[in-house]
Each structure stands twice: as C-alpha cells, then as structure tokens.
Amino acid sequence: MPLLTVDELTVTFGGRGRKDVRAVNGVSFTVDQGQVVGLVGESGCGKSVTSLALMGLLPAKGVTLGGRADFDGTDLLTLSPRRMRDMRGRDLAMIFQDPLSSLNPVVPVGVQVTEILQRHRGLKGEAARKEAAHLLDRVGIPDPNRRLKEFPHQLSGGMRQRALIAMAVACAPRLLIADEPTTALDVTIQAQILELLKELVDQEGTALLMITHDLGVVAGLCDQVNVLYAGKVVESAARRELFAHPTHPYTHGLLGSIPRLDAPRGEPLHPIRGSINDQIAWADGCAFAPRCDRYEMDCLTGTPALTEPRAAGHQARCVNPVLATTEVPA
C-alpha cells in the first residue's frame, strides 16, 4: 500500500471571463514509504501545480480540482482547510525553490523555525528554542544559536535552503515535497543540499517527492521517475530503466538535448524542435505530436494510453515508442 496515491489529478484554472486552462490533466503516480520519486518536466508541464495541489496551497477561487490524492487513507484534495492546516507541516512538508522569498524577511529565522514546533509539537519557550537549534545543527548550519537570531538576508543562499529544510523536517513528516530545491543554487552548493536530502531520506525513512527539470539531479537521487509533458505523465519507470531505455520520444529527446560533461566533445546536441507552445489538446491526440520526429497519423486519434511497450513497470504514453536501444534522436 503506497503512502501517497495520486489518481487522475486535474487542476483547472478558470474564471475572470477567460478560457479555462487545464494545467494538470490527469496525473497519476504513487509514492511509497521511504521512496524518492521524481516528477520531471520543463516549465509549463504542470509539475509545480501538482505539488501545490497536494499541499492544498492553490487558491480556493477560480481553481477546480479533480481526481484523488490518497495520503494514507485521506483524500488531500477534499480536506477542509482546517484539517489541511493540521496535516501541513506535520505529515506533509514542502521545500520551495527560492529560499529567500519563502522566508519572511522581517522575522528572525529562529521565530520562523519555532513557529512550526509550537503549532504542531506544542513546544514552548526554551524547549522550542533548543529544538530549533538542534534542527539547524542537524541540517549542517554552523553556530545555530547565533543563526536563530539572524534575519534571512544575513544567511547565504545555501544556508537559507538548509533553514527551509530544517523547517520542513521539524515534525518528521512522512512525505516531503521538494519543488526545485536546488535550482537557485550554485552547483557546489547544490551538491551539498542533495547530499543532505539523501541523508535525511536514508536516516528517517521519509518519502520524498522531488520536482525538478534537471535530469542530472534525478539520475543521482530518485528511485522512480515520472516524466510530465503538458499536464500528463508521458513516461514512468525506475531510474536505471528510464535512463538506459528512454521509451517516450519526449524523454528520449530531453536526454539528447543535454550537453553532458562526460560525453565526447564536438558531437552536436539533438534538440527537440519547436517549443511547448506547439501542442495540441490531449483529447485530440498526443500533445507532443507537433514536436515529435516519430509522429504518425495514429498519434492524432485521441489520447494515447499508458502502456508497457518495453518492460513490466516501465510505462509510456506513446503510439510509436522508441524501442531500439541504439536509436539516435534525430
């Protein structure tokens, strides 16, 4: 029984007299206890909206949610705001992309960390302060007692992200959602933060939902990978299987577009043509078809189903999947 089962999640933004925009269009995936699951995709694929929907952080007005998100028996999508507040921070926690704008600039770090301890663990005064210092120490912030009194702008980018992680793990949540946790950081700091996340998952058995656009980060961290395109999962597989045999032409194209530090130089990259604006509605066929090199007429007859064309447990949503291992993206 997985810890989190997301089933056909849809998020539609509407109102204000505009045409409805369906940012998430039937996303399904599961996260097991202690598992690291990746949601990968480019901007506009719906990965961040998925995470906000799970955390109940989307505005109530103008947003229509569909499907189910079953977290240990409770549907996160239909929870009352009050129940959600109880769970958020205690059972589910989130780490955001930009550590500076996610912290309150006029409140010392210590107050922000102890707030969550007071709310969920009932700690007060000195006990809360001690626990906060312990948490900062745990995530590798030196001199935690001094840092508690400082304001976010006095911390470096890496340290701010560590402070956010400390707040996220304060109540030992069962599920941690990290939305592009290292995108705003330099590579050497990124390596530090990824190491810390790995350590937390290993030691605490926390499940981690990692949302990122960086396939390199996924390759080093995730057990299971879901690739999103235009609000739908187009490929889902275990990490090694996905990187060894990318089956959906989009995944295949993404891997061909990334310059690799360890690949021989001088080989041209194989970009995917067009941009995410060139897409058709899933109802009419495959949204990726206009950019796809393997496009054929069958691609335009309704939403392709998720099948397992290659191996059990390796799902791809494609009529004409890439099956030969030697095939070079054109």
Binding site: V187, A191, G216, I258, R260, S275
Partner: protein
C-alpha cells in the same frame, strides 16, 4: 596576436558609507587581475559560480563598467583608454547577448525597430529599405520567420526571444560577441536549439565568442578554451578537452565533481568532492590563495600567505595553484583521505577537517565562519583552540614539526585586519563576524 587580449584587468567597486561625507570604506574586488586572450574564430568559455566576477568581466570588456586597472585590447585598440566618443562607434565591434531574453528587449519596440536601431546609429545601410533587407537575411540565419519584423517581443517564446537577441548582435557584424549566460533562462530542449544555433553561426560566419556561463557542461560543449574563475581571478585555463580530462586546480576538481550527469551509472560511481561553506565575499577576499579557505588540499605552507600565479604546466594548461603538480602526482592528498606512504604526516589537517570534528567547538565555530566571509578570523581562534586542547601542540609548533600549530602561526600574520589578529578571544571574533554583513 590574438583578436581580443585582456591584460591584468581589475574592476574594483568602491564601498561608500556616510551621508554627509561620502567616504570610501573599502572595495569590492569583483575582478582582480585577469589576463586572457581570445583567438579569432574561437570560443572562449568563462565559468564560475555566482559572485565570482564573470559577468563584471564581460561588462568590463564592453566597458559597460570602467576598468580600474589593466588593458582590454581588441585588434590593437585598447578599449579601456578610448574616449566616450570613440567608444560609441567602437562598440559596434563588440556586441553582447544577454541572459534574460525578455528583459533585454524593449517591449514597446517591434523587432524591425529593435534590430535597425543599432544599424542606423552605426551608419550601416543607406536607408531603412537596405537595413530591412539585411535584417531579413539575419533573421533567416537565426531561424526566425520574416513576418517577425512587425511583431513585438511578447509575441515570441523564450527561445525565439534569445534568437532575436543574437540577431541584434549579428546585424552590426561585430568582431567579438560576448554571450552572458545565453541559455540559462531557457528550458533544456530549447537550450540545445540555441547552443546549436550559436555553433552553426560560428561555423558559417567565422564568429568569435566569449561565453560566460555557470553551467560547466554547456561551456565545455561550445568552447575551445575554458577559463575557470573563482573570486575575481582565473584559477585554471586550458583547452576544453584537457580541462575535462584532467582538471588540475582543486576548485575545478570540486566544481566538476558537483555537476550532475544524467546517467545513474555515472552518478553512482563518481566521487563527489564536497566543498564546505560558501564563496567568501569579494569585498574581503582571503589573503594568499583565494581558495585556500575551502580547499580540501590546502597546505600549511604558502597557501594562506602567497597568492599563486597562473602558470603553464604544458600544453596550454595553466593553473594557479602552488601544489598542482603534487596533487596530480598524488603526493599531497585530500583532507580526510589516507595519506600515501611517503606523504606528509596525518596531522596536516587543514581547517576543513577541524570544522568536521564536533568535539572541537571553538575550531568548529571558526571553520564555518568562512561562510560569513571572514575566513581570516579562523587563524587566531584556531591558534586558541590548539592551545586550549593540547598545550604540547604549541610546544611542537615552536619546534616546527606540529603541522597544525604551524598552519595557525603561518596564517595569523597574513591577516588583513590587524584588529582581528589582535583579538585572541573567540567572542571578539564573533562580534567582528556579526559586523561583516552590515558593512
């Protein structure tokens, strides 16, 4: 003679304080003595993390910021010494492609107007008709439709906007194009399109690029020569393949090991060199080697006192490290590793190892203060820590064979701020460190 030559370029920004009396209280050493040369038809890649001065250097080449010292010579003319008037017409030969494709295009100008403005200013094309023909030709080269002429920047996608930025540079037929993070604002699939475009244009038009980026994989892909910057200076410069095959400078090694590779097999095999702490502030750079406060290979001698120069170790592979050869041979090992048989004694522990040991509280506090940019503070407090925990270490130090005490003693005189050197209590250091961010 190279097309573009930089010699000892320095860009220092004064830090001012006070309302009535505008005093200069210090300088930010954004670029501190960089020499490099870019050959015609080649791509020079400049990599480094945020705050290392790479963007400032790019702006200094165009003289968008004034050069404090040194020369920027393009084809025999020193850009740094041109008068304002001469500079304006000279800038045609140096063009820039900016990072943010939307922010660098005027939203109220259509594409024709954006592209022809520079041409008119530099007197390219007799009339608008001629300019339009030329623009159409360039638009075709960068892969934009002709009907783009009458459209506005918001009507384009991110990748297309970057193509417009490239076209704007190309219409002036510059000698050197400086690309400042040309693809970092774009999605991966679009990144590859723009990278390929830059390469195709170079091949067909013989362009010369100075590419500034933080992404090592991107830079390696497009560059012939790569320079690695750390805190305002070059720490390593080598032909692209040589740099990847054998990074010699400890910082380059760490940087390369931190770049994630989209391949689980590689990810599991490779060894990560984790650096502790953050980049020190360029307003108060460490004495000696700029990297010694975070270097896992830092030695007790020279590193903290003497600034290494960029030296050619053969094949155009230049490194600014006193011990590059020894590190490559394996006679100097990384802190925490087992030393090789004949190597230095095990207690040659640089500041980093001290910071790892939770038992040594004072030492820990110091090692990490590197994060608040006050790396130098480490010296006095460390000396104190040594004294407190092992009096005999002091005695050893006097006999010059206790390496740790040695290091502390070496580091102390190098201290830039005398006040700190005098402060021998940990508390005084803390006060100092608290002040640092406000300064």
């Amino acid at each position: 003679m190279s097309l573009l030559e930089l010699d000892g370029v320095k860009v220092h920004f004064p830090v001012r304080k006070g309302v009535l009396f505008d005093r200069t209280v210090g300088h930010v050493y954004a670029v501190d003595g960089i020499s490099l040369s870019v050959e015609a038809g080649q791509t020079y890649g400049l990599v480094g993390e945020s705050g290392c001065g790479k963007t400032t250097l790019g702006r200094a080449v165009l003289r968008l910021v004034d050069v404090t010292d040194g020369s920027v010579v393009l084809d025999g003319t020193d850009v740094a010494k041109l008068s304002e008037k001469e500079l304006r017409s000279f800038r045609r030969r140096l063009q820039m492609v900016f990072q943010d494709p939307l922010g660098s295009l005027n939203p109220r100008q259509n594409i024709e107007s954006i592209l022809s403005e520079g041409m008119a200013a530099h007197g390219i094309g007799a009339n608008q008709e001629e300019r339009r023909e030329k623009i159409k030709e360039i638009l075709a080269k960068v892969g934009l439709p002709t009907n783009a002429l009458s459209r506005y920047p918001h009507e384009f996608s991110g990748g297309q906007r970057q193509r417009i930025g490239i076209a704007r540079a190309l219409v002036l037929e510059p000698d050197v194009i400086i690309c400042d993070e040309p693809v970092s604002a774009l999605d991966v699939s679009i990144q590859a399109q723009v990278i390929n475009l830059l390469e195709e244009l170079q091949e067909s038009m013989g362009l010369t690029y100075l590419v500034i980026a933080h992404d090592l994989a991107v830079v390696r892909h497009i560059s012939d020569v790569i320079g690695v910057m750390y805190l305002g200076s070059l720490v390593e410069e080598a032909p692209s393949d040589a740099l990847y095959a054998e990074p010699m400078h400890p910082y380059t090694k760490a940087l390369m090991s931190a770049v994630p590779v989209p391949d689980p097999e590689v990810e599991e095999r490779r060894e990560r060199i984790l650096l502790h702490g953050d980049l020190p502030s360029p307003a108060n750079p460490p004495a000696g080697c700029r990297f010694h406060t975070r270097c896992p290979w830092a030695q007790a001698t020279r590193c903290a006192t003497e600034r290494p120069q960029l030296t050619d170790l053969g094949g155009g592979h230049k490194v600014a490290c006193h011990f590059a050869r020894e590190i490559a041979d394996g006679t100097i090992v990384r802190a925490g590793d087992e030393p090789a048989a004949s190597a230095a004694p095990a207690d040659t522990a640089p500041a980093d190892t001290a910071a790892d040991a939770p038992a040594e509280i004072p030492a820990q506090a110091t090692g990490e203060r590197a994060e608040t940019d006050r790396a130098e503070d480490a010296a006095p407090a460390e000396a104190k820590a040594d004294g407190a925990e092992a009096p005999e270490a002091k005695a050893d130090g006097a006999e010059s064979d206790g390496a740790e005490a040695d290091e502390a003693e070496d580091a102390a005189p190098a201290d830039t701020a005398p006040a700190v050197a005098e402060a021998d209590s940990a508390e005084a250091d803390v006060v100092k460190a608290d002040d640092a961010p406000k300064a």
